[in-house]
Every structure is written in C-alpha cells, then in structure tokens.
C-alpha cells in the first residue's frame, strides 16, 4: 500500500479547515486542543507562581520568632490562598492541560472528543481562578484554610472571603469535571487504529483512571461547596449544629474529594515519570500489566481513605480501623510502580539531562514523603503529630516530590515538542539543583519542628521554643526554590528564541507524539497513524500483522481528508478497530458565553445581586441551547462527503461506538453522583438527630407527591414506548409518547414545586428542612433538563422520522439516557422524602 500524498488543492482545503479564526474573536472562539492545552498550562503555571509568592511571604513572616511582619489575620489569608491555589488552581488544571494537549498526539487523534467542551473547561477555569483572586481587590480574602472546615467557614464566623472561595472553586470544579469527561471519552474512543487496550501508553492509563476519579471526587466537592454556599447565602442549616446540622458532614464530603484529589494530581505525575523513565532507559517500563493494575488500584483505593483525615474526630473505632487498613494497602500500589521504575532503570545508562534530573529528585523526595505517609496512617502516631509542622513537611514532600518535580520533568521532556526548541542543559541542571537543595532545606527541618511542638497555621512562635535556627534555614531554602524556578522559566524563555531545534524525537522515545514535527501541526496528523505495538516508534521495523494492512487502507483514505470539515477516526475501546469518521466542531463562541454566564451568576451570588444571577443563567442557558442545536445543513454535508465512504466507515455511529453516547453516560454518572452525595447528606443528618424530621416538623404527605409519582411512571412508560414507535416509523405514536413523556416530567416537576411552596416551614428552620428543599430542588432541576431534552428531541425527530439515520437514533439514545435518568432520580428522591426509611 503506497502512502500517496493527496493532491495539493485538497491538502490546502484540509489545512484551511483546521485553522482557527484570527484576532481577538478567534482567540475567544478557539476550540482546538493544542492552543487550549497550552493556555491551560500557562495559566496554571501563573497560578503556581502566585501561590509561590504567597508561600515566600509566609516564610518571611516565620523566618524569626515573635515576628509581626504580617500579623495573624493576613497569615490566615496567606495559607488559605496558598494551599487553595496550589491544590485547585495549579496541580490538577496543569495536568489536565498537559493531558488535553498531549493525549491526542499520544493516541494518534487529531483533537479531543469534544473540542467545544475543552474551550468551556478552560474559560470556567480561568474565570474561577480570577474570581478567587478578585477577593484581594475587594479586600476580603478567604481565610478558612484550603479545606474550609465548618463552622469556621460558616455564615457566623467567616465573611465574604469564603463566598469568593466557594464560588470561584465551584467554577474551577465545573472546569475540572468537564476536562475529566473529555479525557475519559478521548481515551476510550479516539485511539489510533491498532491501539488496543493493551497497547495504551502508561501515561494514557494514568489519565484514564484520573479522568474517572475526577468525575466522582470533583462532583462530590461541587455538591459540598453548593451546600455550604446555601448555608451562607440562603440561610440553610446543613452544617449548623444549632439547627440540627452537622459539621462533620462537611468533613466527610470534603475528604471524600480531598484524599482522591491528592492521587488525582499524583497519578498523572506517575504517568509522566513512566514516560520519562522509558525514554531515558531506552526500554519499556518492566511489568507493564502489573503497573497498569497498580494504577487502577490506586484510583479505586484512594476513595477508601477519606476518613484517615478525620482520625481525631471521634468516629466509631471500627470505622477508623477500616480506613487505617485501606491506607496501608495503597502503599502497595505505589510500591509496585516505584519498583517497576527502579527495575527499568537498573543497568540502563541514562543521560543525566534535565528531565532525568528532575526524575531523580522525584524519587528521592517522594520516597521520604511516602514513608512519613505510612507513619501518619498509623492512628496513634497521627494523633500525636496531627496539626503540627510534621504534617506540613509530610504533605509538601508528597505534593512537591510527587507532583511538582514530575511536572518539571515533564515540562523539560515535552516542551521541545511544544515549542520545537531544546532547553539549555546547563540552565536546566542549575534550576534542578537549586530547587532540590532548596526544597530539602525548607522542608526537612519541618519534621523536627513538628516533633518539637510547632503547630501549623500559627503566624508566629516564641523564641523560647528554640526553633529560630530551623525556621531561618527553611526560609532560606524557600528562596532557593524560587530562584530555581526562575532559572527554569528563564531557560524556557531563552529557548523560545535561541534554543537548538528539537527535531521530531529528541529523546528517541517510543510514543506517537514523537512521530510528528515539533511543534506539531494544528491537526496533529495529516494522515492518522496506525499503532503497530505498545511502543510504535520502537517497533517500526517489526513485520506488520495482516490486520494492519486493513488499518492502513482506512488511514490512507483519510490522508488530508475530509477537506471541508474537521474529523478524526473513532475506534473500538477494547480493540482499537476503526468504527467511524468522527466529526469535530470548528471555532465557536458558545462555550465562552456559557462560561461567562456562569461567572456572571457567581458574581451575582457574591454581591447579593439577584438580577445578575438571572442574567447569567439566561445567558448560559441560551448559549448552551445554541451550542447543542444540531446544524441540519452541516449534517447533510457530512452525509454526502466522499471521504468516509472511501475509508469504508460511517460518519454517524450509535451506542457505545459513538462519542456522544459516552458523553451522555458521563453526564448521567455526574448527576447521579450529585444525587448520591445529597442523599448521603440526608441520611447522615438523620443519623445524628433524635427525631427525623427534626424539630417536630411533619413529613409532607403523599397528596401531591402521589400524583407526581404517577406522572413520573407514566412518563417512563411513554419514553419506553417512544423508542419502539421511532424504530417502527410510527410518527403520531412517537410524537404522542415522547411529547407526552416530556409533559409528564414537567407535570411532576410542577407538583413537587407546589408541594415545596405549600410547606408550612421554610428551608432555613433546620437541617431536615434544608435537606428536603435541596433534594426536591435538585429533582426539579433534573426534571426540567429531562423535559427540555425530550421536547427538543420530539420536535426534531418528528420531521426526521421518515428519513431517520444513525444520527437521529443516537439523538434518541442520548435523550433516553438523560430523560430516563431524570425520571428515575426524581422517583427515588420522592420515595426517600416521603417514607421513613426502615433503618432509622
């Protein structure tokens, strides 16, 4: 099979199709993963530098005893903003940006699965971060710590700063969740032909597991932040013990996110490490299957650890020991990875260039952090060092060793791909040594300070404690780290102009991103690549299997094609066999507008201007509707295009073969997790109440909920019947059933709303009432979504019924998932709210 190049005119058309629009408008409308991935990373690094400046200020305050440079109030704000910036605005967004940039290149795809969602994710992230920092402008900086424990963060003790924190964080969480969906679906669906599950690079495996973790963990945190904001802005009582609320509920919800969060940052970092180890050892990471299993294990087990942050809160001992056992087990998973890397490097003769230096730094630091981690997983030990500088030392060893050093290794490794230029090696080595030595100077003494009784989060200490020398060394070390970072950035800026050209594959690495030019063209691959093995670039000489000829035929047909619309290959999640030519959207303004709407609504909440909320929601919903509206002319063009036919593949696929189905599934999982977290809160609150409902309130009867339940059941039947009518081509029945189903859901939503309005108590009287109103409200929102989707689908498919094709079938499938989910979730909510669950 010859690798013939397409005729020049077609090629020019292909390239034009992939170009973004010029100017500011084009910048706002950008959807391609490469520019957006770069924006994500640059923004995250800027936040990293801001967080670093805050850390330096803290270290200045702590340099000598009895210092009053900053004072207690400012110190509280600094550690809150520093911790929050590093955890929410730097670590995870940076790694997501790296993944969004790199995954398509590594998988052999031209872009990610939902390009407009990438843009939406970036804008919500940026807006959230800006809202966070806007608190400095207004002079009310968050000061309740990076985990914002209630009641400190509740309405009684914390001012407007915490509102900035909660709303900024909510936007950042939305950004994280959407990026997680993007990552997940891209990995499952957009791999190069021949890239079976077993041939996926380890970095991709780590991102696959991370994407799944983000969806669960961030959604629970989003729910928690919304509940706390409801307490603060709407007078609810979830976390207010005086009205039957429970402060430990916040801790449970927060750490259900917070522990996985550490691994959400750490797992991709291990993916970076595996990539760099393999490239520098010039051989595959040993025990590939075992390493994959360790990655999956880390992802799952990290959800079984949240209570280990609450050992000092007085839970039943039995529960605490379950978590203690799980905490020890996760060390097994990390151990597997560490030993696999060591075995891979054993006997190899790596070049000690910048990425490898940072890798060695990671090994040394992380092992210390892991050891102190096992120490604090032992319950009696934890009770001793809880809230001392020992813990500060521990988590900086884990976070800086386990995340920041790998990130710098990854930057040094992949920047030549991004910019096309190599970093200066001497500057790279200097930055490494400064950071490494500085790091240990800063944080090693903190272990000792902790044993000697220095508490964390305290703005100063008396000279009699005898810790002046330790603290001064730590402060000097912090400035060395800053210098190391500055040298790295200087080297990067220098390389942009003066760096030696990197060529395609400066490290002789194995994965597909190294097969394209540096920097890669905006469409990544003119002709989609075929993955011959797990290490495609090391296996170029291997004889091709019979199936590869088939894959080559497919990719040849897509060489510089299609020419008038953006497309990439979609493949089977297990085997990597081509399944379709996936259309990808071009520049669009709607993602920016939806994000802007959310920002305006968030500002409205902070400023107590409800007119802004309304405006923001209208803008967001309107832009979202435009985003989701199918473009019939475009669909017709796709149906006619010769390129997919030449490849022998469909343009539209259905079910698990399509990306849309997976996207809808993710949305259902996210909404289900929200319902789950709220139901957990409901039961948790009831557990610690003498009576439920609290305060002598009466559980609402079935007077309205009964008819609502009936409406939901009928709507479900209608939805089920409409599918049969659709496939049977019976138009009247289809319209009646699906339209009726939409109407049934709407009726149920109205009944639930009427019930809320007619209740003799408001949401603020006690925690029971808050939970009742919030669960009902979520059910109403879900039903509104279901109604809108079902109605829009009825409207469109009615006209398509005679000519229905795979796209229309997919639309009905997605509608069934979303609308069906809304019905089931609302039904479950009604049952829980109106019956007394047996156990209680």
């Amino acid at each position: 099979m010859s690798v013939g190049t397409a005729a020049p005119p077609a090629q020019a058309g292909f390239e034009r199709t992939w170009q973004g629009h010029p100017g500011l408008r084009g910048w706002l409308m950008e959807v391609n993963n490469q520019p957006l991935g770069k924006r994500f990373m640059v923004t995250a690094i800027i936040f990293f530098l801001l967080g670093g400046v805050l850390a330096l200020l803290m270290r200045l305050q702590l340099a000598v005893s009895d210092n009053d440079l900053l004072g207690p109030q400012v110190f509280n704000q600094l550690f809150t903003m520093h911790g929050s910036t590093m955890m929410y605005l730097f670590a995870v967004p940076f790694l997501e940006g790296l993944a969004l940039y790199l995954l398509p290149l590594q998988l052999g795809s031209r872009d990610v699965a939902f390009p407009r969602l990438t843009a939406f994710s970036y804008w919500t992230y940026l807006f959230g971060g800006v809202l966070f920092y806007a608190s400095f402008l207004v002079g009310v900086v968050p000061d309740a710590g990076w985990f914002a424990y209630t009641p400190l963060s509740g309405p009684r003790y914390a001012g407007l700063g915490v509102d900035f924190w909660l709303l900024g964080l909510s936007l950042v969480e939305v950004a994280g969740i959407t990026a997680g969906v993007e990552i997940l679906v891209t990995i499952l669906k957009l791999r190069a032909p021949g890239m079976t599950l077993g041939r996926m690079p380890l970095f991709v495996w780590t991102m696959l597991v991370t994407g799944g973790m983000i969806i669960f963990a961030f959604t629970v945190l989003l729910t928690a932040t919304i509940l706390l904001e409801l307490d603060r802005a709407a007078g609810m009582a979830f976390f207010d013990p005086e009205r039957g609320g429970n402060s430990l509920l916040w801790q449970h919800l927060f750490w259900f996110f917070g522990h996985p969060e550490v691994y959400i940052a750490f797992l991709p970092a291990t993916g970076i490490v595996s990539a760099v180890v393999a490239a520098f050892a010039r051989r595959p990471v040993v025990a590939h299957v075992l390493v994959v299993v360790a990655i999956v294990m880390t992802g799952f087990l990290s959800f079984g650890l949240w209570v280990h942050h609450m050992f000092a809160t007085g839970l039943p001992e039995l529960a605490m020991h379950f978590f203690g056992a799980a905490s020890l087990m996760i060390a097994v998973a990390s151990g597997i990875q560490v030993f696999a890397w060591i075995a891979t490097l054993w006997g190899a003769r790596p070049d000690y260039r910048t990425p490898f230096l940072y890798l060695l730094g990671f090994f040394l630091i992380f092992v210390v952090g892991g050891m102190t981690g096992v120490m604090v997983a032992v319950v009696p030990f934890d009770l001793q060092v809880h809230d001392t500088y020992f813990v500060v030392a521990h988590f900086h060893y884990v976070l800086i060793g386990g995340v920041v050093f790998p990130v710098f290794a990854g930057l040094a490794f992949w920047l030549p791909k991004v910019t096309g230029r190599l970093l200066d090696e001497r500057a790279g080595a200097a930055s490494f040594w400064l950071s490494f030595v500085g790091f240990n100077l800063t944080f090693f003494p903190m272990h000792i300070m902790g044993f000697l009784g220095m508490p964390r989060r305290v703005y100063t200490y008396p000279a009699t404690l005898g810790l002046d020398a330790h603290n001064l060394v730590a402060t000097a070390g912090a400035f060395m780290i800053a210098l190391g970072t500055a040298v790295f950035i200087g080297a990067f800026l220098h390389s942009l102009r003066r760096g030696r050209p990197a060529g395609e594959d400066p490290w002789q690495a194995d994965t597909l991103e190294w097969s394209v030019s540096s920097p890669p063209p905006i469409f990544a691959f003119r002709r989609p690549p075929v993955a011959r093995g797990r290490h495609p670039l090391w296996e170029r000489g291997r004889p091709a299997a019979a199936v590869e000829a088939e894959h080559q035929r497919v990719t040849a047909a897509l060489d510089a094609a299609p020419t008038t619309w953006r497309a990439t290959l979609s493949t089977d999640p297990l085997t990597g066999a081509p399944q379709g030519v996936q259309w990808l959207p071009g520049p669009a303004m709607s993602p920016f507008l939806v994000a802007l709407g959310l920002l305006i609504a968030a500002i409205g909440v902070v400023a107590n201007l409800y007119i802004l909320d309304l405006a923001g929601v209208v803008l967001a919903v309107g832009a979202l509707a435009r985003w989701l509206q199918p473009d019939e002319a475009l669909l017709e063009r796709l149906r006619q295009d010769p390129a997919p036919r030449a490849a022998g593949l469909p343009v539209f696929t259905t079910g698990a073969a399509s990306t849309g189905w997976w996207g809808a599934l993710c949305l259902v999982v996210i909404l289900g997790t929200m319902f789950g977290a709220l139901l957990y809160a409901y039961f948790y609150l009831s557990l610690f109440s003498d009576a439920w409902p609290q305060g002598g309130l009466e559980r609402p009867g079935w007077g309205l909920a009964g008819p609502a339940t009936g409406a939901l059941l009928l709507a479900g039947a209608g939805l089920w019947g409409s599918r049969r009518a659709f496939h049977g081509g019976r138009r009247a029945a289809f319209v009646g059933l699906l339209g009726g189903s939409a109407a049934g859901a709407a009726a149920a939503a109205v009944l639930v709303l009427v019930e809320l309005v007619r209740l003799p108590f408001g949401p603020g009287v006690n925690a029971y009432a808050s939970a009742h109103f919030t669960l009902s409200g979520l059910a109403i929102l879900a039903l509104a979504m279901g109604t809108a989707v079902a109605a829009a689908t009825t409207h469109r498919l009615e006209r398509r019924l005679e000519r229905r094709d795979a796209f229309d079938t997919l639309q009905l499938q997605v509608t069934t998932m979303l609308h069906g989910f809304a019905l089931v979730a609302a039904l479950a909510t009604l049952v829980v709210l109106h019956t007394s669950p047996v156990l209680l």
């Binding site: 079976t196 039995l318 085997t575 557990l687």
Partner: protein
C-alpha cells in the same frame, strides 16, 4: 472472527474480568463503612448473637460475599487468559463489530486476574479490624 481453537472470549466477559475485582472491592468498602458508621449507632450494634454483634456478623457476611465475587472473577479471568494463550496468535479483524483480538483480550484477562489477586487480598486485609470489635464498635461517635 477469532482464531482457531479460540472459543470466543466474549467482550462482556473481558470487561467484567478487567473491572470486576475493583468493583467488588468498592462494594465491600462502602458496605463495611456504612455498617460501621450507620450500623454502630443503630440497635444492630447492641444485639449480640453467638458472641458477636449483628454489625460484626453483617461485616463478615459482606466480606465473604465480596471475597467470593472477587475470587470468582479472578478465576474467570485466569481461565480466559489460559484459553487465549493456548490459541495461536490470530490477528484481530477490523470493522465496527470486530471481535476482541487475542492481543486485547489476553491483556485484559491478564490485568484482570492480577488485579483480582490483589483486590481479593485487600478485601481480606481490610476486614481484619472487625475481629477486634466483635462485641462492640469501640468508642461511640459524638452524639
């Protein structure tokens, strides 16, 4: 189509083999957490039957069930691996409805039984604390 001697290791079985043990662990962990958190405050904790509280008995029952589930899936994945390894390396076919080729299937089966062994071990280890709290749950939570 699959190679000769390869009695079609089905797609469903491959996915179950790959994720089954992890899911068994998740179910187990959430169940024993819920039993300890919610059960220890309920009358279940006070009822002692045959020398152990009902909470302890339930924890043990859930553990046995999840061990069986995880162990069963491990065995299943092991069998698939054996069968696919015995088959000569047949190429996977292309096309939307392609059968998982031996490459993908064997990888998934191998990852499945490896993770199965580990998760089974972890389920067992995590249940150990219950033997120290057979009659009560230890210090009560805050009221």
């Amino acid at each position: 189509m699959s190679g000769p001697g390869d009695p079609r290791a089905g797609r469903g079985r491959i996915w179950v083999g790959l994720w089954g043990p992890a899911v068994a662990w998740l179910v187990h962990f959430l169940a024993i957490y819920a039993l300890a958190e919610f059960g220890c405050l309920s009358p279940l904790a006070e009822r002692v039957v045959l020398g152990a509280s009902l909470v302890a008995w339930l924890v043990l029952a859930v553990t046995v069930a999840c061990l069986a589930l995880s162990g069963g899936v491990t065995w299943l994945a092991w069998r698939v691996d054996q069968r696919l390894s015995a088959a000569p390396t047949a190429p996977a076919t292309a096309g939307p409805e392609a059968d998982p080729g031996p490459d993908a299937g064997r990888f998934a089966a191998r990852a499945g039984w490896t993770s199965g062994l580990l998760f089974t071990l972890i389920i067992a280890v995590e249940a150990v604390p219950v033997f120290f709290y057979l009659r009560d749950c230890g210090v009560k939570a805050l009221p």
